[in-house]
Structures are given as C-alpha cells and as structure tokens.
Amino acid sequence: MERIKSNAFVKKIGFNRLVLFLVLLLMYTIFAILEPTFLSYNRILSALNYAYFLGFLSLGVTFVIATGGIDFSIGPVMFCAALISGQMLTKMNVPMVICLISAVLVGSAFGVINGYLVAFWKMPSFITSMASMMLARGIGSVFTKTQSISWPQSSQENGWFRIFVKYTIPGTTMALPTGLVFLLIIAIICAIILNKTRIGRYILCLGSNKEAVRLSGVNVKKWEMLAYIICGTLAGIAAIVFVGAYSTVQPGLGDTYNNDAIAGCVMGGTSMSGGVASIGGTFIGVMIISLLQEGILAMGFQKDWQYVITGLVVLFAVYADVRSRARKN
C-alpha cells in the first residue's frame, strides 16, 4: 500500500482521486452487469446530460468551499439565469448570443452579491447564500410570471446553442458529446486557476488561515469575493447546458441541485473547512453522482434512492476528511 502511495505517478494524480476513479469504474461495471443497456451509447449520453450542468455548478462551488465558505444558491441561480435569459429569448426576441451572455452575467451578478456580503460585510456565507437562494428563486418566478420556459430544439431556429451539449452529425442520428469537451475545457481552466495562479493560491491559503494571509499584507477581501464570482459565473454557464440538455425550465425549482453539486465537490476531496481543494476530484465526484442518478432510474428503483446513497457517500467523505485532520493535529 505504502509503495503504491509513493509511486511518482500516483503521487502526481493523488491517491484518493485514483481510488475515487476506481469507484466510478466499479459502479459503471456493476450497473452494466445488472442492466446491459448501460453499455449503449445513448444511455451514456443521457447520464452525461446530468453531469454537464452539475459539473459547472460543482466546479464553481469548489472555489467557494476552498475559502472555507459555502454557497447554497447555485441551483436556484442557475434556474434564475435560465429563466431570465429564456424569457428574453422567447418573449422579447432578444438575439440568442445576447441571451446566452445574459445567462452567464446573471450568474456572475449573484456571485458579486454573495461575495461582497461575505467578504466585505463579513456575513456568514451559510445565511447569505440561503437568502440569495430565495432571491434567485423569487426573481426567476417573478420575471417569467411563473411560466415555464422552453428553449428551441436543435432543429428549430436558434437551436444552434445546443452545440454546447451535443452535436448531431448532419444526415445521421450520430450525436457527439460536445458538452463533455466543453466541461473538460472549463475544468482544466479551473484547475489551472486553482493551482497555478495567484487567485487560486490566495483562495486556498485564506481558506487555510485567513488572518495569517491578511497579516501578510494580502487583500483578502478581494480574493475571497472573487471565489464567489467564479462560482456564480459557472452557475450561469450551467444554465446554458441545462437548457441545452433538458429544454424546459420551471420557476421555483433548482434547490436540490445545490446538494448534488456540493456532494460532488466534497466527495472529490475538497475540505469543507477550506484550504484544500481538487478540481480533478470534483470532476470525478460529479461523474459518480450522475451515474448513480441514471443507474437508479434505469433499474426501476424509486428516484429518491439516489438521495439516500448520495447522502451516505457524502457522510463518509466528510468523515474521512475530519479523521485525516484529527490525525494531523
């Protein structure tokens, strides 16, 4: 065991992430044995649909959790962004490009608000994000007058935006998972930001000991706020891939995705007390949750079993984190 852990390749990737990846493969194998349709391409595409939007949410919240904070508003913010931009598109005839940009900006705006309140006014992120969760839900509903909104299909006018999710080769039924490529690119950018830039360095350090970073002459407020802005912006992007995959958004929903996103992040080894975060881990965590969701549906279990299992997995992940901290001290 120690020999495996000290192997250069394993060290580079991270032992825990490797284990997590094996868990993902194992789960897929079990599902494939129990339910052979899992070997089909369409089934995989369907599982991925869930992973796209959840991936963006989870990547974003990783930055916030790295600072030692939390953001419970991302799910509703994603819905709010999708509703506002959808309303602009379908009812106000705003050009598609501008609608997509607005979706992202709505997300960023919530990030700015959350970040400002937490970093500058020192409000607890738990409460702040709960409040903005309600704001997001309410604003989305008010803006659309509680109407659900359907985005155009790929065959319709303006349907081109679905290229962010999948691309059907003309003349065939063959669909390429462009969403996965999109998500991977953003994930790699996130990993670079977190590990190679000052943004990530300061976010991780202030998650570890904010006062020490402040006393080192670093503008901690600015960097802490930035984590929330990144989170909100990614929730805005999540809105685009959500409607790209599922077409319809209903007002008043979105809360449950918070839990899945935070679960994916924690499962991936990001510590709830801040200072330690892994984008790769978050990515695999999201894949596990999406697979679980699809698998449970496919096997005809009641959907809510997914929550039971995700809950247990999160408890285990947090327990492992607390334990490893206790051992270090």
């Binding site: 570890s208 000991n209 002459g217």
Partner: protein, 497 residues
C-alpha cells in the same frame, strides 16, 4: 491573622523541557491576604493550577485544614472550598447574573430550572458582600468590575475558605478597585484565606499582609508587607544570576538614521500615547509585564488593528497605515507571538508560506513561477538553516523553531526593512532559541531594524541595543542597554501613575 489553613511544601513540577516549579513552599493563614509575586513565567499560575488540581504535581505535599489533599480537578478543589477568581472572566454574557453564578448546579424544582429561587439566592450573596447587582440582569450588560463581583459571589456561594485572585485589578477602574478592596477586606475579616496575585507594587502595600516572591519556578522569599519596601520586592523578583552574557554596548552608532518614528499612537485602552524611534540596524527591545500593551502597540503600527490617532513615519516620511497591506508596502513585517493563528497557513507548504507576502514578484505572466518560488524558498531554507525535507513539506509537520523560521523567511522574501518580532522564542526549544538570536543579530548587522517584544528579561538584556518599557498602555521608560539593569527595567514595568 489566625491559624494556618493551607501549606504547600516542596511542590515540584516538570513539563517537557521546562522545570516549571522547583520545590516551592507556600503558606497561607486564615484571615490573611497573601500576595504572590514574580515576573511572567515565574511559576505563580502554575503553582495555583497545581493547588486547584488543573496540573498534577510531581512531588511535594499540600496540607489543607490539617489534612493532606490532592485534588483531581478544579471541581474537587471547589467543593473543598478553594476557588480561583480568574483574570479572564469565564462568564456567559447571554445568561443572567444568577444563571451564571449557579451554572452547573442549577436549583431545580422537579425537572425544571427554578430561576426565581436562584435569583433569591444570588441576591442573598450580594447582600452578604454589600454590593448592588440585579440578579436578573444579563451578564453582558455589566461592567468588567461588576462581572468580577459576580465571580466573587460565585466563589462565596461555594462556601470558599480560600480564594485566589489572579490579577483582579488589571481591567478595573480606580473606583472599582476601591470597591474590590473593600470586599477583600470584608472577606479577610470573615477569616478567609486570600491569595492575591498581582504585578502592581502599590497594591501590595495597600491590601496584603505578606508577600511571597517566586522567580524562575522557585521560591525566593516571604516578606511582611508592612515592613518591606518596593525595592526589596523588585530585588527579590529579578535577583537572578544571568548565565547568558547580556549585551554590554549598543552596536548602533549614535548618528544612525531613524527608520521608524511613532508619535502619540493611541489605540484602545492598552495603547495610550506611545511615541518612540527605531534606528537603522538597531534591535529595540520592548519590555513589560503581561498586558502592558506591547503586542497591541505592534498591531496598531502594523495596521492589524485600527488606531485612533498618532503618526507613523518611515524613513522620515509620514505614512498612512490603515491595513497590513499598507504596512507591508512601507516595508514593515510583523511576526506574531501566535504563529499558528496569525503567522502561517499551516496546512500549506513551506514554499507557499514563504512567498505569501510577496507572491506578485514570483509570477510569470498570469502564472506562479514555481521554479523561481522554489529557488527563493530554498535559498532561505539554506540561509536560515530551516530543517525541512523539501520546499513542498506542509508547515504543520515542522517543529516550532522551524515554523518560526518559515515566518521569518516570509518577511525576508518580501525584503522588509523593519521587522517586529513579537515573543520570537515563545514555545521554541533552547537550541532553536540561540539560532533565532543569531539570526536576529545577523539581520541587524545587514541593516534591518528590529523591534523585539519579549517578556523574558534575559532575552531583553541579551538582544537589545535600546529598551522601551511599557506598563498598562503607556511608555514608562526608555534606556540604552548600557544603562539598563533588571532592576531598572522592572521598576519602569511596574510604574503606574
């Protein structure tokens, strides 16, 4: 004074690396106020902790009311009648006075708490002490003085026979002190034994009957308060033989330029009109007893806490320091006494901590230049002789001395010219200590200017070129090392006006 109620004989206690109590004797009579004096770290608190069962003694005996006792915890001591009124009050501000007094032993009627009964009982206690406090008031609404009275009432309610006051007047106003002394005299008249820990010389004469002086964990002498002088006490407190050679002469030329000038600095109760100058290449010692306001002064200069007024000049220019960011820009670095809380992100690596204050200099465009970062980190690992397997080691895995070196390297990487070392050798073993001393001397030789806050007299005398002494938020003395002695420093450190 009556018969002896408490005798501690030959109390010995060793912590890893420190002989905290070296066969200490102490005796307390009924109806006596007995002062316990000594510098920081003399062992007063440790002795009281042994008495009340917080620490277990290694050897020696405690005889209380004629019987040998050994308390396992403060609760046992309390029920036997020995209580401490702590310097830092352990009160819950959101509960009422009565609820605080009876915490942990609430008066019940059935399964419910009987607040009315507790209020009545509390009132009776206050009447006994002749003090006016409403038992139903929230604790947080009382002044510090009144809160302390509640602590005393709580002690009485345990049917105390011995009460230990740990620096009770540190946070009180003059009139509150008067009131406290009245209560203490009342308690004495009721034949209680009172142990009184204080740094204030004038109070010793005013309120105590005898004084026992401790130094470096050992018993020195017991004096009769009435007949002894302040000089006698100071002499007993500091009359140690210093093994390490004190600095004899300042290394700083008289005409060295002033790099930092602080004028009329005010920030809260503990920084009251402080002015001083720091010269290039100088080690300026800040001496004083606990709570003198030295750390608070440093934090106000550094912008960690907001200052109310005062001017700070760096290299002759007035600078506006509103946050640590501003201070760092002016070339000031602050090494906190509490490294883990204020100095380091311990879950991060040596390299990440070393460049924390100067990361913008180790960038290649948008990205951190890891190679350059590791280079500069390694450079300071070598020059400070930090013991770490690599630049990627997590700081949490290093020893105290090496963690301190990482904090130092953080400021050296930033190239700060003015360094404030707050208790630089606290919690560091002897070997690492002399390395830190050596390092500070080297830095001063290179032309860095150092403010060194220290509560250890030998450290002050060994390192400083000049010494500023503070007492209760005010500067009460300043002397060149040539003029300084333990006695003269201790005099200034206990100077109240």
């Amino acid at each position: 004074m009556g018969e002896v109620i408490l005798t501690m004989k030959g109390i010995d206690k060793t912590f890893p690396g420190v002989h905290a109590l070296d066969h200490v004797d102490f005796e307390l009579k009924k109806g006596e106020v007995h002062a316990l004096m000594g510098e920081n770290g003399a062992g007063k608190s440790t002795l009281m902790k042994v008495l009340t069962g917080i620490y277990k003694k290694d050897s020696g005996s405690i005889i209380y009311e004629g019987k040998e006792v050994e308390f396992g915890n403060p609760r046992e001591a309390q029920s036997a009648g020995i209580v401490i009124v702590h310097q830092e009050l352990n009160m819950m501000n959101h509960l009422t006075v009565a609820q605080n007094i009876f915490i942990g032993r609430e008066i019940m009627s059935g399964k419910l708490i009987n607040d009315a009964q507790m209020n009545r009982k509390a009132k009776e206690l206050f009447d006994l002490l002749n003090i006016e406090i409403d038992p139903t008031e929230k604790m947080g609404n009382l002044t510090v003085g009144k809160q302390q009275m509640c602590e005393i009432a709580k002690a009485i309610s345990h049917e105390a026979k011995v009460i230990v006051f740990d620096e009770p007047t540190a946070a009180l106003t003059e009139s509150e002190i008067e009131e406290l002394f009245k209560i203490i005299r009342d308690l004495r008249a009721k034949d209680m034994g009172i142990i009184y820990i204080s740094h204030r010389m004038d109070e010793i004469k005013l309120i105590t009957d005898r004084v026992t002086v401790m130094r470096d964990g050992a018993y020195v002498t017991t004096l009769i308060s009435e007949s002894c002088t302040k000089d006698d006490i100071v002499h007993a407190m500091v009359g140690r033989v210093i093994y390490e050679e004190p600095k004899v002469k300042s290394n700083v030329p008289k005409d060295a330029p002033v790099v930092l000038k602080v004028e009329h600095l005010k920030a809260g109760r503990l920084v009251n009109d402080v002015s001083f100058e720091l010269k290039k290449g100088e080690i300026l010692g800040f001496a004083g007893l606990m709570g003198a306001g030295r750390t608070e002064t440093a934090r106000a200069i550094f912008g960690a806490d907001t200052k109310e007024s005062g001017d700070i000049y760096v290299n002759g220019e007035l600078v506006e320091i509103k946050s640590p960011q501003d201070a760092v820009k002016s070339g000031i670095g602050y090494l906190s006494e509490d490294r883990k809380r204020y100095g380091l992100a311990v879950q991060k690596t040596v390299a990440e901590n070393s460049t924390l204050a100067a990361l913008e200099r180790y960038m290649k465009g948008l990205f951190i230049d890891k190679r350059k970062e590791n280079e500069v980190t390694q450079q300071y690992i070598d020059s400070l002789k930090t013991k770490t397997p690599s630049t990627d080691q997590l700081v949490v895995n290093l020893s105290g001395g090496n963690q301190q070196k990482v904090v130092v390297s953080k400021w050296l990487v930033r190239n700060c010219d003015i360094l404030i070392f707050d208790e630089p050798t606290r919690g560091i073993d002897v070997g690492a200590k002399s390395e830190i001393y050596h390092l500070m001397n080297e830095l001063a030789k290179e032309g860095k200017s150092i403010i060194m806050i220290s509560s250890e007299m030998p450290e002050i005398l060994r390192m400083s070129d000049r010494i500023v002494i503070m007492c209760e938020g005010k500067k009460t003395g300043e002397m060149l090392i040539e003029e300084a002695s333990q006695e003269s420093i201790m005099h200034a450190a206990t100077l109240r006006d």
